[in-house]
């Protein structure tokens, strides 16, 4: 199902890690204001898809169309400047920078990014740790920092790679509320998650991946009818 009004439209995306062909004709779209989740087991290509969209993986073919603009072939900094922000699975907090420097690092790519005060409203812990070295924060605080810093940029499409991985339930809840707030404010989010229950509280639509391909697709309303199929896909 492709729609010319889609914010992000991915068609026949193929990608390689060296000799290894990891994405095979991935096709999906994301409408403005939606939260779309890529589901699947470890290693099926969810992170790879995000990285291919972002241009971090350079060997890629196909079409990635954002706001009508073709991103295939652009370097990752140009893609970011189109208004997309990436929050990696490993969080990517810079150890040689303190928290404030980490927060201020990603440049403004669009007007209307959240200012520091608004980010501290979402993540009060960060305000107290401003001068700490980035990696001295706990896992949950680092995740908040990773999300907080991309909110400054003004990017309206956020690619979040497993934001709840390895975090305590209390933190997961907080992140869930934050993403809910962002959704209410009109952000569009492409979420990669293995924690299916977390995704279920937020997503409008789901795509399931297997072996580098999209194999299934549900809307939120169809979830209940498809739980058994999903359990098969996810191997739970």
């Amino acid at each position: 199902m492709s729609d010319t009004r889609a914010l992000l439209s991915v068609k026949d995306l193929e990608a390689w890690y060296g000799e290894s062909h990891v994405l095979h004709g991935v096709t999906f779209d994301v409408q403005p204001g939606e939260v779309v989740t890529l589901l699947g087991r470890n290693g099926v290509g969810k992170t790879t898809t995000l990285k291919a969209i972002m241009g971090i993986i350079e060997q890629r073919t196909g079409s990635v169309c954002f706001e009508g603009r073709e991103l295939i072939g652009l370097p990752s900094d140009a893609i970011a400047r189109c208004g997309i922000a990436f929050c990696p699975e490993e969080r990517g907090i810079f150890a040689s920078l303190d928290v404030k420097e980490n927060l201020l690092l990603p440049p403004q790519v669009r007007p209307g990014g959240l200012d520091l005060d608004r980010i501290f409203e979402l993540f009060p812990n960060l305000r107290e740790r401003l001068r700490s070295q980035g990696t001295k924060l706990s896992g949950g605080e680092q995740q908040m920092l990773a999300i907080g810093r991309i909110l400054r940029t003004g990017a309206r499409l956020l690619l979040l790679d497993e934001p709840t991985e390895g975090l305590a339930p209390v933190i997961i809840e907080q992140i869930g509320r934050t993403i809910g707030t962002l959704k209410a404010q009109g952000f569009t989010i492409l979420l990669v998650e293995q924690n299916f229950h977390f995704a279920a509280t937020l997503a409008d639509r789901y795509y399931v991946m297997e072996h580098g391909r999209i194999v299934d697709h549900f809307a939120a309303a169809e979830l209940h009818a498809n739980t058994e199929k999903l359990h098969d896909y996810l191997g739970v």
Partner: protein, 295 residues
């Protein structure tokens, strides 16, 4: 005039001064190498040749255009830095994804070519460069005589080293550089033009070498091999200090210069080799260097 450990004060402080001067150059040059290595992961073997080009730039500016020392302090680093930017764009950029060995080989070859070209044009003997008028002469401090130009070299090196350290460790631009040293791929995905930053950083490191060359011109002869004579010692300094830290490079440079100077006073036979002996010891006890990033 008094004696310390049987050495006349004039001799001791004279050598200490010499040690501080050498240390100034060691610090400036190992700082440039550390900055380049941090960002590009390349051991810039051409650093000595770029230092020599700085000295020659000052000499040639004076010879052909009458432009003197003070302007050369600014112009030479810019000119030589520009050649560095060219080298990075034409050659080093393509070696980025390969083993660091290729960068080393390329810059090594470059050093030989540059030195050969200059030797061809200017011969092997040194060319003179006068101390600028405002810095001529010196002051008698009682325990020693301090030439003004030597004092200036030490002060300027300290100032440049500290300014560079401050820029990298305490400013916003510095945070971009530090992040690029750690994770350039992610930083680029935030929208920062990392390749351009890397090019400019190489240019800056080369410019630092050239600045050292201009400062060296009135002290040493301007000769095509002045760089290769010095760079071997600077590499030993860098091994001792470790490639990881800006402050480490600066401290190690000055300290080793002083150590070398003191050795010349108390144990002159060893003065040529003391830094290399220290390097061998450091490699045995702490291979990453005193301030280096342990792998």
């Amino acid at each position: 005039m008094f004696e310390i450990f049987g050495i006349p004060s004039q001799a001791l402080f004279g050598q200490l001064l010499l040690g501080l001067i050498n240390g100034s150059f060691y610090a400036l040059l190992s700082l440039g190498l550390a900055v380049i290595f941090g960002m590009l992961n390349i051991i810039n073997f051409a650093h000595g040749a770029q230092y020599m080009m700085g000295a020659f730039a000052a000499y040639l500016l004076l010879q052909h255009t009458g432009i003197g020392y003070w302007e050369a302090l600014v112009i030479a680093p810019i000119l030589v830095g520009a050649t560095g930017i060219l080298v990075e764009r034409l050659f080093l950029k393509h070696l980025r994804k390969l083993d660091p060995l290729y960068g080393l080989l390329l810059t090594f070859g470059l050093a030989i070519v540059i030195e050969g070209v200059f030797r061809n044009s200017y011969g092997s003997s040194g060319l003179p460069y006068q101390v600028p008028e405002s810095l001529q002469g010196g002051h008698n401090l009682g325990f020693m005589f301090l030439p003004n130009y030597r004092a200036w070299v030490i002060v300027l090196s300290l100032a440049v080293c500290l300014a560079t350290w401050f820029a990298i460790e305490r400013t916003r631009l510095g945070s971009y550089l530090r992040a690029a040293t750690e994770n350039p791929v992610l930083e680029r995905a935030f929208g920062i033009n990392v390749p351009r930053m890397v090019t400019l950083t190489y240019g800056f490191g080369v410019g630092l070498a050239a600045l050292a060359g201009v400062m060296a011109a009135p002290i040493y002869n301007v000769s095509p091999q002045m760089g290769s004579d010095l760079i071997i010692v600077v590499f030993a300094v860098v091994v001792i200090g470790g490639m990881g830290s800006i402050l480490g490079a600066i401290l190690t440079g000055f300290t080793l210069g002083i150590v070398e100077g003191l050795t010349k006073v108390f144990f002159p036979e060893a003065s040529n080799t003391v830094i290399f002996v220290i390097m061998a010891i450091v490699l045995l006890i702490r291979p990453a260097g005193f301030f280096g990033r342990t792998a």
